[in-house]
């Protein structure tokens, strides 16, 4: 039995369970709403989470993941959850929740050496997702801090420039005289 094919056939069921776990982190009424995921514009959170979990699943069960596809799918989830007041461990903790679901599906084939080897590789894939999602989480948080700092800095800066109270150095290639006269 090829474990990848087996998991692939159970995709809908596994991802559905995974999605439920992720959604379970939200308050009840919020979770109920996020589950109605069919309209991407009325419910961007539910729809994006579900779509990205599917994409992640397709990658994680492969023997070699496509890093760009992984980043893209992870970004969709982490970019949202990093803003939603979750503890960092929760915002990226969803990665783990797929493990028990997968283990359950391949339990009866565990004796098979090939399956065992495959599961070890799958663990490595999941660890890779975790590392990458931590990077993405930090990138998102940094972005928010950057916006806050920029808005604070820029509030009156343009006024000072327009009023001529401050003059910045010219860009490379421009003459200093042009801006000082």
């Amino acid at each position: 039995m090829n474990p990848q094919t087996l998991l692939s056939e159970k995709r809908k069921e596994i991802v559905g369970k995974w999605f439920d776990e992720v959604i379970g982190a939200y308050p009840e009424d919020g979770a109920k709403f996020f589950k109605e995921k069919s309209d991407p514009f009325a419910n961007p959170v539910g729809n994006t989470l579900y779509r990205c979990l599917n994409e992640l699943f397709d990658e994680v069960i492969k023997s070699e993941m496509d890093q760009a596809a992984v980043d893209n799918a992870l970004d969709g989830i982490v970019r949202i959850q990093s803003l939603q007041e979750f503890m960092p461990s929760v915002a990226i903790g969803f990665i783990f929740t797929i493990k028990p679901t997968i283990s359950k599906r391949v339990k009866k084939y565990r004796e098979d050496k090939e399956v065992e080897k495959y599961l070890t590789a799958l663990d490595a894939n999941i660890e890779c997702l975790l590392r990458r999602s931590f990077d993405l989480y930090m990138q998102c948080r940094q972005k928010v801090f950057e916006f806050r700092a920029n808005q604070s800095r820029d509030r009156v800066r343009q006024l000072l420039i327009k009023k001529g109270y401050i003059k910045e150095l010219p860009e490379k290639g421009e003459n200093l005289e042009d801006i000082t006269t």
């Binding site: 308050p27 009325a42 007041e85 327009k162």
Partner: protein, 540 residues
């Protein structure tokens, strides 16, 4: 290090079970990033509001006056008597849930207290308890609850997580305007001196100096002159707008965001270029140098005071009518509240375009015309020479700014203008535009940096629709007609769809506008090459 839990253990320690309590019992954490900083006393006192001293929403004990319950009760009673709408909004909700999933903050957070119905319930539960017979007898059974300090904290948390965009009210079968419930909630909080500085400082500055930032008259004039220098550099045409000129036909008023911050400044340049091309007899005012009215987010008294300044100035200058710029909530104040607060403006004339002769009967009472109505009329009568190919590097989509769309029904004019000045225009999905438009996430005085997280998650539904048209059609420019939008979208886009810029419609108009005597344009209003190819050629 040895004490650290293993990842599995850590994950298992997280409780995913949703709380089983009723919403009233769920605590509303007031943590940094969730609240805007409180209003400073100096900004409250100039408006003659209560001053609570220095405090923080994170404090356990809030600086409430001794008789705070009495103040709220009497304030609530007064408003129920004064506004029949409030009483109706308090009585008629049947909790059908039509509004529940329509709020961008709920869609972005999943926090049930951000459902409009629950947000209104924060106030309604007190109403039931204190003002209805059923509530007085049945108490909790009728959905009532007692007014406690925790309720006040909850009001502060959630009435300042509503941008008063009114998307929810579009879906309410009874027409309950939840934004007005928020407004009442904020008014009551204001009676206790609980307000936020991002709102009160602009209110105080506008009241005293004339605009949100407190830009003084001479500085306003110099900034505008500086923008005129830029226009001259781009077009070769020198513009000399007048200030406070008595006897001008039209007074032009726009939000201060249009002249102190990019990309609003380009929109302002666009207005000036349009007026110059028309030879319009207009004047700017250093006294009415603000179209925005943060009084709307504070109390009806503050809103009335700030609104009256515009009309007092129109009267003093003896103009015939007022032309208003691309502002959002200014138009809600004008269309929905001005007439009962300060109107009718009988000393002005019903606006008539001096170029086309069109009479704007829709503004026959307020005497104030929206600039996209004015420009659409000009285009309709073929009064502008336009070269839309100058905007060819932009693939444009249009965000219906909440207030012009839902508070004055301005849906077609902006699109008509864009379609005439741009060759590439793409609509976002139907349930995210026009009456159903999604808020930028930063409206109603929430455009401050300390709640950046809230703004980004509240802006997700809007950004998500922009992302869709970016991926489908290559859209790279988001047009809007609101100064708060123009300030809020740059970080929102950078977070969710970094390839998309932000513009006002009149920036696009001015790019396309062929002015008599202009030199050959090589750049747009941002001093960037008109066409992408030129950019590449330069690099080559």
């Amino acid at each position: 290090m040895g004490d650290l839990p293993k990842p599995d253990e850590m994950y298992e320690s997280i409780d995913h079970t949703p709380p089983e309590e009723e919403w009233e019992k769920i605590e509303s954490p007031i943590t940094p990033g969730r609240y805007a900083y409180p209003a400073k006393d100096k900004n409250l006192s100039i408006m003659e509001f209560r001053t609570p001293g220095e405090w923080s929403p994170a404090d356990e004990e809030w600086p409430l006056p001794e008789n705070w319950q009495q103040i709220i009760h009497e304030g609530f009673k007064e408003r129920l008597e004064k506004y029949r709408s409030l009483k109706i909004f308090m009585d008629t909700c049947v909790r059908c849930g039509a509004c529940a999933d329509k709020c961008h903050y709920f869609i972005g957070t999943g926090d049930p207290k951000n459902m409009p119905v629950v947000r209104a319930e924060l106030l309604r539960s007190i109403y039931r308890n204190d003002f209805t017979t059923a509530g007085k007898i049945l108490k909790k059974l009728s959905g009532g609850r007692e007014l406690t300090k925790e309720v006040i904290k909850e009001w502060f948390a959630y009435f300042y997580q509503c941008s008063e965009c009114r998307r929810c009210s579009v879906f309410c079968p009874y027409g309950i305007d939840t934004a007005e419930v928020t407004m009442m909630g904020r008014e009551l909080l204001n009676l206790l001196g609980l307000n936020i500085n991002w709102i009160m400082e602009p209110v105080a500055n506008c009241f005293r100096t004339g605009n949100h930032l407190g830009i003084q008259p001479q500085a306003f004039k110099e900034i505008v002159e500086f923008l005129c220098d830029d226009i001259e550099e781009i077009t070769g045409i020198k513009i000399n707008p007048t200030f406070n000129r008595k006897g001008a036909e039209i007074l032009f008023i726009t939000p201060s965001g249009d002249y102190f911050a990019d990309p609003g400044t380009y929109t302002f340049m666009g207005y000036l270029m349009l007026f110059e091309a028309l030879g319009l007899d207009y004047t700017l005012s250093t006294y009415a140098s603000e179209g925005g009215n943060f009084g709307l987010f504070t109390s009806s008294d503050a809103m009335k005071k700030l609104n009256s300044k515009m009309y007092a100035e129109a009267k003093r200058l003896g103009v015939k009518w007022i032309l208003g710029g691309e502002c959002g909530h200014m138009w809600r104040v004008i269309n929905q509240y001005m007439d009962t607060m300060n109107g009718p403006a009988d000393f002005l004339e019903v606006p008539k375009s001096p170029i086309t002769g069109t009479v704007f009967n829709n503004a026959s009472s307020t005497k104030m015309v929206h600039i996209t109505e004015f420009t659409a009329d000009l285009i309709r009568h073929n009064k502008l020479k336009l070269d839309p190919s100058r905007n060819d590097k932009f693939k444009v989509t249009y965000h219906d700014s909440c207030n012009p769309a839902r508070a004055m029904g301005l849906l077609e004019e902006p699109r008509y203008v864009i379609n005439n000045v741009c060759n590439y225009f793409y609509e976002m999905p139907e349930n995210t535009i026009r009456e159903q438009t999604f808020c930028c996430g930063s409206g109603s005085g929430l455009n401050t940096e300390e709640v950046m997280d809230l703004r980004l998650r509240g802006g997700l539904p809007r950004a998500n629709a922009v992302k869709h048209v970016h991926e489908k059609y290559g859209v790279n420019m988001l047009a809007c007609i609101c100064a708060i939008d123009r300030a809020a979208f740059p970080p929102l886009m950078e977070y969710w769809v970094p390839e998309v810029g932000t513009t006002g419609i009149h920036e696009l108009v001015a790019n396309a506008l062929v002015m008599d005597g202009e030199k050959e344009r090589t750049t747009d209003l941002r001093f960037e090459p008109l066409k992408e190819e030129e950019d590449e050629a330069d690099e080559g």
